[in-house]
């Protein structure tokens, strides 16, 4: 009994409730006429789409910079990579690799600047990250209007300048990762390539945290004073983690776009950090501790709920309440993590 209690306390009520909720959704699904095959493959596709974005949370959480609400900054780097690739008419695997090759250095550069801000505001990173993200999105809104892009598929038909709000990746590198070795069996579809890529990214981050730098980074996150005393350059570790997070955000959004089929500009990236933050917290991460397992479990649970609630609840009570449930679940999860009294003071 005590062990059960401990387990519940460790795992947290919200996660248990949400886990049970998701389980109920999967169990009821066949009875209300939702095809389980489609649901599962929808969930999997969305896990692949969002996985890298969620992974982008890990380095910053581990180095003690808190939840990366500044994810839009990384997304912007990714968008610049994607639009440049389309501008040059790059197609297929080459196109997406080109997008990555532009986005990653940009992400690292943005991350470096962003880290200079965050290193000066230790302890208040999250709120500032949110607004740095927001203001960079707004700044880029102006840039999308003014940057000298000229590809006719991207700019507004009239006026002849300024990028469109959504740009189709169709004919360029739509589904290049998803369709690589993908499996199609009836209504079940599995985007093998996208998952291979996700696993590759997970491995890279996992391996990174086993290097000397990675270990030092974790030390900074667990106890900055102790880390400083043992000769670790705290600011440098934090800078590296922010650069890594931002670059992962840039990669993540390109993976997202190739599966989604559209590049969303302007206010599109504004709220994209919140689902990713909610997902990693749902997976068991806290404000200053996150692991690869948290990413995988969290993304699956969160995207599972997003996919299953509309179809199941719709069929059950003939009302679409998915949006409300999504808002309450994701923000409730973040709220829970923020208000949780940390047992070990850092």
């Amino acid at each position: 009994m005590d062990r059960l209690k401990n387990f519940i306390e460790d795992f947290g009520w919200p996660r248990i409730i949400i886990g049970i909720f998701l389980l109920c959704l999967f169990i009821t699904a066949p009875f209300v006429g939702v095809r389980v095959g489609t649901s599962i493959s929808d969930t999997l596709v969305r896990v692949g789409m969002n996985g890298v974005l969620v992974l982008a949370m890990v380095p910053m959480v581990q180095s003690g910079c808190g939840l990366n609400f500044g994810l839009p900054l990384g997304i912007i780097a990714g968008l610049l990579g994607a639009t440049t690739s389309v501008q040059f008419g790059m197609k297929g695997l080459l196109g997406i690799l080109f997008a990555f090759s532009i986005a990653i250095p940009l992400g690292l550069a943005f991350g470096f600047l962003y880290a200079q801000i965050l290193n000066r505001v230790k302890g208040e990173e999250m709120m500032i990250a949110t607004y740095v993200g927001f203001s960079s999105v707004a700044l880029m809104c102006m840039a999308w209007l003014l940057l000298p892009f000229s590809s006719p598929v991207m700019i507004w038909g009239y006026g002849g300048s300024g990028l469109r709000t959504t740009i189709s990746t169709d004919g360029f590198w739509n589904h290049v990762l998803s369709d690589f070795m993908s499996v199609q069996a009836g209504s079940f579809y599995f985007p093998t390539g996208m998952f291979l890529f996700f696993v590759l990214m997970l491995t890279v981050v996992w391996a990174f945290f086993r290097t000397k730098t990675g270990t030092a980074m974790t030390a900074v996150g667990s106890n900055p004073e102790f880390a400083r005393a043992s000769g670790i350059d705290v600011d440098r570790m934090r800078t590296i983690s922010v650069m890594l997070s931002t670059a992962l955000g840039a990669i993540g959004i390109i993976v997202y776009q190739q599966s989604f089929g559209f590049i969303q500009l302007y206010m599109g990236p504004l709220y994209m950090a919140f689902p990713a933050v909610a997902a990693i917290l749902l997976g068991g991460a806290s404000v200053n501790k996150a692991s690869i397992t948290n990413v995988v479990v969290g993304t699956f649970l969160f995207q599972g709920i997003l996919t299953m609630t509309p179809s199941v609840i719709n069929n059950l009570i003939k009302t679409d309440m998915s949006e409300v449930i999504r808002i309450i679940v994701s923000n409730g999860m973040i709220l829970y993590a923020l208000t949780r009294k940390t047992r070990v003071k850092r």
């Binding site: 801000i117 505001v121 607004y131 203001s135 707004a138 209007l145 009302t319 309440m321 923000n331 709220l335």
Partner: protein, 367 residues
């Protein structure tokens, strides 16, 4: 003398920059003085109350109350019921305020207690709490109203039989307060409307804040804002006082939203409250307030400057580059950017103070 001037310039740098920006943008936009004066008066009447509601939590050291959107939601629920029972005019607004009050007290109580569990990160927590409550609000308004809650007016309910429409016209309530005591004067060939009643209410509120600062409770809050640990050892009930600060702010934000919407005349049931928080906070910061210090004059200067930019920038953007959209994005950028900058400056200052005091302990003089 030089030093004092320098000090003045530094401590008021944000408003000065915005005065400069406006001075550049106004001639470009080509608006007449009469039009701009009218716009500023309208917007001061519309927004001041909301922005004033932010002052008390700042006094209590809780930072910018992003949770004021909770109050805004309560205000909107009040308005929905006032419309449903078709009570018009001033009585309608009073009724809406009375209904919203217990809801706001309850939400403020919840918010205060949540924030007590997240000391040191009040702002981000209240911000997320705003999103969370928005989910609950949508559930209540979109599903419970007309189903469980007795809202029947066809003017409000969606055609499917329950849930409130996206845009609700505030028939009979529109401008009820602003037109109650309207004063007109001529400026050039432009007739300017001056809503005296609204300004009286705002004035009363300012007096309330001044009075409140002097009370025992107000003094307690200021002590907590200075140093929470010291206040605690001095016997002040820190957590309780913090909850009260948030409750007052939430209730006032509810009233503020009622005033705001009666001026606009239509309520976007699902969006009106979302921007309230951001615009109010940006306005306060542009007025020269910081996270830990804000005065009544900051509110009025801020609302004027922020909304001057708000009115002028799209037209200025259009005249300059030929795209009004650019001006729109510019003002969005400024609202977000100013909040980001204020937060960064405040946190940076605090970090330096902490480091300085740590150095002091070590006995180093230079470092």
């Amino acid at each position: 003398m030089m030093n004092r001037l320098k000090q003045f310039l530094i401590s008021n740098s944000v408003p000065i920059v915005f005065v400069g920006l406006s001075a550049l943008a106004i001639p470009i936009s080509g608006y007449s003085a009469g039009y701009l004066v009218q716009e500023m008066i309208t917007r001061l009447a519309r927004n001041s109350f909301l922005v004033l509601s932010l002052l008390i939590p700042i006094m209590a050291g809780m930072g910018l109350n992003f949770g004021m959107v909770l109050g805004a939601m309560a205000g909107q629920i009040g308005l929905i019921f006032a419309i449903n029972w078709s009570v018009v005019g001033i009585p309608g607004l009073v009724l809406a305020s009375l209904i919203s009050m217990p809801i706001a007290v309850f939400l403020g109580f919840v918010c205060g207690n949540v924030l007590n569990r997240a000391k040191g990160r009040e702002m981000v927590t209240s911000y997320i709490l705003g999103f969370f409550t928005n989910g609950v609000y949508q559930f209540v308004v979109l599903y419970a109203m007309g189903n469980i809650l007795p809202v029947t007016s066809p003017q409000l309910i969606l055609s499917r039989g329950y849930g409130i429409r996206n845009a609700v016209t505030l028939t009979g309530l529109r401008l009820a307060l602003d037109r109650a005591m309207n004063f007109q004067f001529k400026l050039g060939d432009f007739t300017v409307n001056m809503p005296i009643g609204t300004f009286l209410l705002i004035g009363v509120f300012c007096l309330f804040i001044l009075w409140f600062r002097g009370t025992k409770l107000g003094q307690d809050m200021r002590a907590i804002g200075q140093d929470m640990a010291a206040a605690d050892s001095a016997g002040i009930a820190v957590e309780r006082t913090r909850v009260i600060a948030i409750i007052i702010s939430t209730v006032l934000a509810a009233f503020g939203q009622v005033i705001f919407l009666q001026n606009i005349g239509t309520m976007n049931t699902y969006n009106s409250h979302e921007q309230t928080g951001m615009f109010s906070i940006a306005a306060l910061l542009i007025g020269g307030a910081t996270i830990s210090k804000a005065s009544i004059s900051n509110v009025f200067i801020g609302v004027t400057l922020f909304h001057l930019m708000f009115v002028v920038s799209p037209t200025a953007g259009k005249e300059l580059i030929g795209q009004a959209q650019l001006g729109e994005y510019f003002r969005v950028f400024v609202s977000y950017g100013i909040i980001a900058a204020a937060l960064v400056l405040h946190a940076w200052k605090r970090l330096r103070e902490r480091q300085a005091s740590r150095r002091g302990l070590r006995g180093e003089t230079q470092g």
